[in-house]
Amino acid sequence: MKTILVPVDFSRGSRRVMTEARQLARVVGARLVLLHAVPPPPVIATDVAPLAAPALLVMDDAQGAAGRELRKLQRRLTTREVPVEIICANGFPATQIIAHARKLAADYIVIGSHGHTAFFDVVVGSTTRGVLKRAMCPVVVVPSPRKKSGQVARRTARPANSGRVTRSPAAGKRNRSRTRSGSAR
């Protein structure tokens, strides 16, 4: 049986990735392997002992949550034709994806064009780019759903019109009021 590796990050854009992966698995006759990599925390406080323990706790929590999400996804995606397996790995996403693709001898990697765009990726660089650069098997890049330009315009325009947000003439406060109204919605 062929193997399709699907790195998931539980972002909103991954819905289409899942649909495409399942469709491909059905026609090719493959199993899906969902892989989530929990990246290491950006800062590891090795010198400050009191901070190390909470950091590890956060990591533990992230692993547990990721495992739960993966199992949920597995239940949702499994059909009679397409078996689904899950892997929760620890480490840098691109490295883990390449390592697992090699280990599983994956026939395809199905990945979103962007989506793995947390703060982590701003620092390290795009996961998808790293995978494309180093993969030995064909990589199916699924485009992310694009935001309509109108949506973006409305989002920035609204704080100025709504009476709820008090805007001070100070330029520094403009950003703050914008984020506040953004989180309220």
């Binding site: 062929k2 495409e20 026609v27 090719v28 006759g29 001898a105 026939d107 395809y108 199905v110 064009s113 780019r129 494309l132 650069k133 993969a135 030995m136 098997c137 064909p138 990589v139 199916v140 890049v141 699924v142 485009p143």
Partner: protein, 181 residues
């Protein structure tokens, strides 16, 4: 150049509109990765019971210098390029049709990335298959500039076939994907 993009056989356009038939667009440049790209595309078209559309874009050579010595007939060079590409393209098409895969081929002039995107929308293509890099590998070690632009702008899934080779028992060779055999 723009005219050749707009001029698409009406039957082809109609074929593309038939929803049931899946279309796999293979963007090829006759670099070493082309063979694998075509193999991937045909394997996919076979399981999808669809067709392969081979797309090659020739980039016309323009005049680089105004000096009198360089005023050669660029049309002639472009014609030669086109002729060579057309021959290779029809050879690939024949090979695929001998394998009982429905194949069409387009040979257009222009900027590769935008032409690929345009054709993918026009057909419309269900998948674009493209090599991770072709001729520009030297300039762009990470990912070919055409491929990067296509991945960024495509609205359908893009299958990027690695051009990289792997060392197997001391010899550098391309890893053959079992899906294509």
């Amino acid at each position: 150049m723009a005219n050749s993009a707009q001029h698409v056989d009406p039957t082809q356009r109609m074929l593309g509109k038939i929803k049931a038939m899946k279309t796999v667009l293979a963007a090829i440049d006759f670099s070493p990765v082309t063979q694998r790209v075509v193999a991937e595309a045909s394997a996919l078209a076979r399981v999808l019971d669809g067709r392969v559309v081979l797309l090659h874009i020739t980039q016309p050579v323009g005049r680089m210098s105004n000096e009198a010595g360089f005023l050669e007939d660029y049309n002639e060079i472009n014609q030669l390029n086109r002729k060579a590409a057309a021959a290779q393209l029809s050879r690939l098409e024949d090979a695929l049709e001998n394998d009982f895969i429905r194949t069409d081929s387009f040979h257009l002039d222009g900027s590769p990335a935008s032409m690929i995107i345009e054709q993918a929308l026009r057909l419309p293509a269900d998948y674009i298959v493209i090599g991770s890099h072709g001729h520009t590998a030297f300039h762009d070690l990470a990912l070919g500039s055409t491929t990067r632009a296509v991945v960024k702008r495509a609205t359908c899934p893009v299958i990027v076939v690695p051009a990289r080779q792997k060392k197997v028992s001391g010899v550098w060779r391309t890893r053959v994907n079992p899906a294509t055999v």
